[in-house]
């Protein structure tokens, strides 16, 4: 996990952001936050596999956050000078993907409970500090097989992954601690290529295209998805994290692009960007072929980018950072 704290510009209003899960979304949010605000980040090890070790590490993180507030106020007991202090716990973790089994999701669920409990304890311990919990949920998991989903649609998860996200939302909303709850339901996310990080469909197609490797898709050529760019999400969420005025008490927002794209369209776009044919194998019995489409969500400040230009940007960035060359060197 990554712990971000402001670096002394406003000592009377300490701001701490604890990001759990530095994957596609988490890392993009941290990058945007550190570039926009005077926040310093520190990566703290957290075990996702060993519950006992995880509990100890979370205890240490909790104490470290408490110490940060205490240091900012110059005393162990925060009092009158605590105005504007905030703690945001940002959950974008999750190894479990769409194909996860119930057993796969159990570890993630217990980790989520542990982090939520830590946030609740901190909120009770420092009532003067505005504590917020940001949960990144999956619209695809919640609304699998539904079409034209809008903000009023009712989640009907079909598989353990969707159920996991639904239960996480319910757990957070049921919390009676003084925590402001923010849930963001994201449609299919694509983002920059990062080595050794879980990549989405588009990045996989780009990477495999460059390496002349076949990509296997567990959907049909005509399967529809709603893709949104991690860069747009990061910009939107960073703004939300930095400017949250504490209202309302809880909110659930859908972040969608509103433009359905077939997997065939994505394949053709990637081919156009990398200027070569890519090898794609579509499953004969696709487990993930149901169309999921969304109406454009329009929370203030949310402006999804054009798919084609974002794919081009990912490709250019991957060239500039050398990720593509590394991928080529890895070629067997």
């Amino acid at each position: 996990m990554i712990l971000l704290a402001n670096s002394g510009g406003t000592p009377r209003a300490p701001r701490t952001i604890a990001v759990f899960g530095a994957g596609l979304i988490g890392s993009a949010v941290v990058e945007t936050l550190t570039s926009r605000a005077s926040l310093q980040g520190e990566t703290i090890p957290l075990s996702w596999a060993d519950p006992a070790l995880q509990a100890r590490q979370l205890q240490e993180i909790e104490e470290r956050i408490a110490a940060m507030f205490a240091r900012s106020w110059g005393t162990e007991t925060p009092s009158c000078s605590s105005e504007g202090a905030s703690l945001a716990v940002f959950w974008s973790a999750g190894q479990a993907g769409f194909t996860a089994t119930e057993a796969d999701t159990m570890g993630e669920q217990s980790s989520f409970r542990a982090v939520l409990s830590m946030a609740e304890r901190l909120a009770r311990r420092f009532p003067e500090v505005r504590t917020l919990f940001y949960l990144i949920s999956s619209a695809g998991g919640l609304f699998e097989g539904q079409r034209h989903v809008d903000k009023g649609a009712i989640p009907t998860p079909r598989r353990p992954y969707g159920l996991l996200k639904w239960q996480q939302e319910q757990l957070l909303l049921a919390s009676d601690a003084p925590v402001l709850k923010r849930i963001y339901r994201l449609t299919s996310v694509y983002g920059y290529l990062r080595p050794h990080q879980r990549t989405g469909l588009i990045s996989t197609l780009l990477l495999n295209g460059v390496r002349h490797k076949t990509s296997t898709i567990t959907g049909l050529m005509s399967t529809l998805r709603d893709f949104i760019f991690a860069g747009d999400i990061a910009g939107f969420l960073a703004h939300a994290l930095l400017e949250d005025d504490g209202r309302p008490q809880e909110s659930v927002q859908l972040l969608s692009g509103g433009k359905p794209s077939s997997l065939f369209e994505i394949q053709k776009m990637v081919e156009a960007v990398i200027r070569r044919k890519i090898y794609v194998s579509y499953s004969l019995q696709p487990s993930n072929s149901a169309d999921i489409t969304f109406s454009l969500s329009a929370p203030p400040g949310w402006f999804p980018s054009d798919l084609r230009s974002s794919i081009g940007e990912i490709y250019r960035e991957a060239f500039a950072t050398g990720v593509l060359f590394e991928a080529l060197l890895e070629r067997p």
Partner: protein, 335 residues
């Protein structure tokens, strides 16, 4: 209940006088389908503002605010009818997509008939063709038909006669064709890369704009533009004819050369004029060779062009949801 979703796509360029009426007509179709309670639902009407030169963008914004199912897509400049249609299709999510003009020449009341026809005849595309003359001008009607026949012959695609901008297309095929369309491709020819199940339905279509305003939305220039696009997108039959002619000339000239040589050797007295025969044969031989090689080069170029335009090796389609529309087909047939 499992639903079959229908989207409509309308490119808008100078549709201000018609847009409200068009949306009202679409709303009536939508409500009537909802009342019938069948599987079909008109789920969205997408209007693509192709840098309209009248008040259409403002009207579209108002209509979008009034109706949740009306969606406006605003293009950055005027790209033309086909690119605008492609943009609309790529924003759609329906199982079936109907494309129709802004000026009510393509009346929404025919949407269900087109769809029922497609399902009943197991087709992926159904074009609406006019029962009678669609335009006021006889010249316009005749030139349009002759033009289609000529281009159809040139590119060896008789389906061109059916082409019309009022079409009902299976969603997955429409989106796939739109995905590979470029600024220079002819959308209907590209649709033919993905399916050969296409039909047409005769409907009483009237060019409302030309009747009301005494002018057509199309000019001779746009007709030529259409022809150019069709030729660029298609493999031209004429090329193969040229190639074949070149090959035949080459073979005949080679045969005649051998014959002349044999005659010259056995019966030298038969050839009186010196040089003429060999000159003609050399011209025929090299002319044929040049035609054949040019034809082969052009065919290579045409194949490369189609590859660069994204002509697929194959495409997979799922038609299983059509069975949900059988009650609708029966109802239409009973009428």
């Amino acid at each position: 209940m499992q639903k079959v979703y229908l989207s409509t796509v309308t490119p808008v360029y100078q549709g201000a006088p018609y847009l409200r009426r068009l949306v009202a007509e679409l709303a009536m179709v939508r409500e009537s389908l909802a009342r019938e309670g069948g599987a079909l639902e008109l789920v969205e009407a997408i209007f693509v503002n192709d840098a309209a030169k009248d008040d259409s963008p403002e009207i579209l914004s108002e209509l979008q605010a009034e109706h949740s199912w009306v969606k406006a897509v605003h293009l950055s400049r005027n790209f033309g009818q086909h690119p605008a249609t492609v943009a609309g299709i790529l924003h759609s999510s329906g199982d079936w997509i109907a494309t129709l003009d802004e000026d009510l020449q393509h009346h929404p009341k025919f949407l269900v008939s087109l769809l029922a026809h497609a399902v009943a005849h197991r087709q992926d595309i159904v074009y609406a063709n006019p029962e009678g003359a669609v335009h006021r001008s006889r010249f316009r009607n005749v030139s349009s038909k002759s033009f289609k026949a000529l281009v159809g012959w040139l590119i060896g695609n008789p389906a061109i006669r059916k082409f019309s901008s009022f079409r009902m297309i299976r969603g997955s095929i429409a989106r796939a064709a739109a995905s590979v369309s470029t600024h220079d491709t002819y959308f209907d020819v590209v649709l033919g890369w993905f399916t050969d199940r296409l039909g047409s339905l005769l409907l009483p279509l009237v060019d409302v704009r030309s009747h009301a305003e005494r002018r057509s939305g199309y000019s001779f220039r746009s007709l030529l533009r259409h022809a150019r696009r069709m030729l660029v997108t298609s493999q031209i039959k004429l090329l193969r004819l040229g190639e074949l002619t070149g090959m035949l000339t080459l073979i005949v000239s080679a045969f005649l050369s051998i014959l002349t040589l044999v005659l010259k050797l056995i019966y030298p007295e038969l050839i009186q004029v010196r040089g003429w025969t060999s000159l003609i044969l050399a011209i025929a031989f090299f002319g044929g060779l040049a035609s054949l090689l040019t034809g082969i080069v052009l065919e290579y170029m045409s194949t490369l062009l189609q590859q660069s335009q994204g002509r697929p090796a194959f495409f997979v389609v799922d038609r299983s949801k059509d069975s949900l529309l059988l009650p609708l087909v029966e109802r239409k047939e009973a009428q």
